[in-house]
């Protein structure tokens, strides 16, 4: 029997996934700042504390390093914690436990242990929260072997990938763009997973491949819809996972379209765009390229407070349209 499909917001989809995970497995519990009665800074945990109690929906003190480390220790010893950072920016306070401990523990101990911790990071700009509450740091963690790093772009994927993350024996870092939380989309009831490490072709096209992540997927789709009227057919690949990256889907798409544009919100240089471009340059798809690869990423600046500046420093739909058009028309 097919599961009932309803419209849920991205935040509701995550909340439902966490509830299902807790129903299915009593080892699963939630930790984070103000995730109890407050419901989480973005209302993702909502009223889960009323349903599962304060023992399984644990408000931590404002102690990111310690809190993340406690989650790592619990995961190491049999529990299945889902740890919420209030903002992804605060990962910087917990880097030690994430990078030195969670990521390497299994390796350092010769495979004797595993760390099935899930960490959730509300990320990105667009809320006027300025430089310390708006960053996109996923590539930082993507650089660390031992971690898996995902960026679901739809409510459907947010639920399915979170459930896959909980089932995964290794640490999974989930970057959730804050502006996606209110986005609605179809989500089936009940348990299902969306595999980690698998990209998704969200729109097919023959002229150009746009590889996008997170909120940029929707922006790329909007750009693709606009370009259709100009006769430009864009293929949009939602990367979904940045480590381990689904190279084959991107390679196949580029072989088909012969042009590649990478769109992501994080600072342009030394990031996902560099990785995808280099991966293509190293692959058999390189010979198929009809134009140089183009990256569209965030400006080389912290996120400013002023709303016009804030918009200007990350790619917007018109920027994607212009870059795609130039690429296809051979302007670059």
């Amino acid at each position: 029997m097919d599961a009932m499909v309803r419209e849920l917001s991205y935040a509701q989809a995550i909340q439902e996934a966490m509830a299902i995970a807790m129903d299915m497995d009593e080892r699963v519990f939630l930790m984070g700042e103000d995730i109890g009665v407050y419901g989480g800074a973005f209302q993702v945990t909502g009223d889960l504390v009323e349903r599962y109690g304060a023992e399984r929906v644990i408000d931590t003190p404002i102690s990111e390093l310690g809190g993340a480390g406690v989650a790592v220790g619990a995961a190491l010893t049999g529990m299945r914690p889902i740890f919420e950072f209030q903002f992804s920016d605060f990962a910087t306070l917990a880097m030690e436990q994430i990078v030195n401990q969670a990521a390497k523990m299994r390796f350092m101990l010769g495979g004797e242990v595993s760390v099935p911790v899930v960490m959730r990071f509300p990320a990105g700009s667009g809320t006027g929260a300025a430089a310390q509450h708006s960053q996109s740091l996923e590539a930082w963690l993507g650089h660390v072997p031992g971690l898996k790093v995902i960026q679901p772009a739809t409510p459907y994927d947010a639920k399915g990938m979170l459930l896959a993350a909980v089932a995964d024996p290794d640490p999974v870092m989930i970057f959730e763009h804050k502006l996606l939380y209110k986005m609605k989309g179809p989500v089936p009831e009940g348990y299902y997973t969306v595999p980690i490490g698998k990209a998704d072709i969200r729109r097919e096209g023959r002229d150009l491949t746009i590889v996008a992540t997170s909120i940029m997927v929707q922006k790329a789709l909007d750009a693709a819809a606009a370009l259709e009227s100009e006769g430009i057919e864009v293929e949009v690949v939602d990367l979904r996972t940045i480590r381990p990256m689904d190279k084959q889907t991107v390679i196949d798409s580029v072989k088909k379209t012969s042009r590649l544009l990478c769109v992501y919100e994080a600072v342009k240089t030394l990031g996902i765009g560099a990785e995808v471009s280099a991966m293509i340059a190293e692959s058999e798809a390189f010979d198929y390229l009809d134009a140089p690869i183009v990256r569209l990423g965030g400006a080389e600046t912290p996120i400013p407070y002023n709303p016009e500046l804030e918009k200007a420093v990350v790619p917007q739909v018109p920027d994607i349209i212009a870059a795609a058009r130039d690429l296809v028309k051979g302007v670059r």
Binding site: E33, D34, G36, V37, Y38, G39, A41, D59, P61, I62, S63, E64, L65, G66, D89, F90, L93, T127, G128, A129, A130, A131, Q132, H133, A299, E300, T301, P302, P304, Y305, N306, P307, E308, L309, A312, V313
Partner: protein, 342 residues
Amino acid sequence: MAGASKAVTDSRANLPFVYRQYSAEQLTEVLHKMYLIRRFEEGAEECYTRGLIHGTMHLSIGQEASAMGICMPLTEDDQITSTHRGHGHCIAKGAEVKRMFAEFFGKTTGYCKGRGGSMHIADVGKGNLGANGIVGGGIPIAVGAALSSKMMKTGKVVVSFFGDGANNEGAFHEALNMAAIWKLPVIFVCENNGYGMSTSTARSTGVKNIAERAAAYSMPGVIVNGNIFSEVAEASHQAVARARAGEGPTLIESKTYRHRGHSKSDRNRYRTKEEIEDWMSNRDPITLFESELREFGFIDDKGIEAIRDAVAQEIADGIEFAKASPAPDVRDAGNYVYTEQA
């Protein structure tokens, strides 16, 4: 400090600290500034509600005596680090409200040229090294500023404001320890308003009073009623004297309350209406200070009226200034990332 004359001081011998220490003029200026903080935040809140300001903001309404009391013995050269709830600290350290409004409106005339907004409000010229978006982020920075003061022999004292929630960050503990072992001229001021966002200190903190943490770093830990200006100022005086004498840091816990929610997204589910109501009606720091000033004969109704009117005008002018100021050019979005070099 230009204080009261000897004869006047004698007649005030039994009054609380500040009434012995300061002139009527200085004390009414404190009331003026407390009103300025309150009305500034009410004005900012209204502008936010009307959609003129974006982002979020954390209001310190109810905590004005704490900011003013701590800053009272500081000179313009002394420095502070502040928090996300930092508008009061900024005004208490001498900032102009018009440039603060301009910052909230994202304008080039703002203290951070529209780049920082409420959460990064600063006034470096007046010794405010900045609010902070990171809980506890300013505490080690204050210790670093105090290290500069010691190494450069500037005589500056540094105050680090932070909330009760910050006392559970590693940065707090590491910073206090270094300040203690190096005997630095820094004062740690924990504004304990009972909650870090939704989490009460009882639920977050292993000690009953944050001041007890001081014992672990062998520095004095002082608890004051943060809603009584005189109590806060007296503790600050002592800590400043200690710091200037090279005797090292002090931890002051200023017990207070925020009337508003944590930020603009707070539904106040973790505290009762009665609790909020009690603090607002019975322990409001401005009301308390105002009635003392009146009782001890430092001000009359007319004087209070004059202060309120002047503040209302300053706020209205400040908002007009902000509205009329130019926005940054988007082509300048990359400015200030690095130091411009000739």
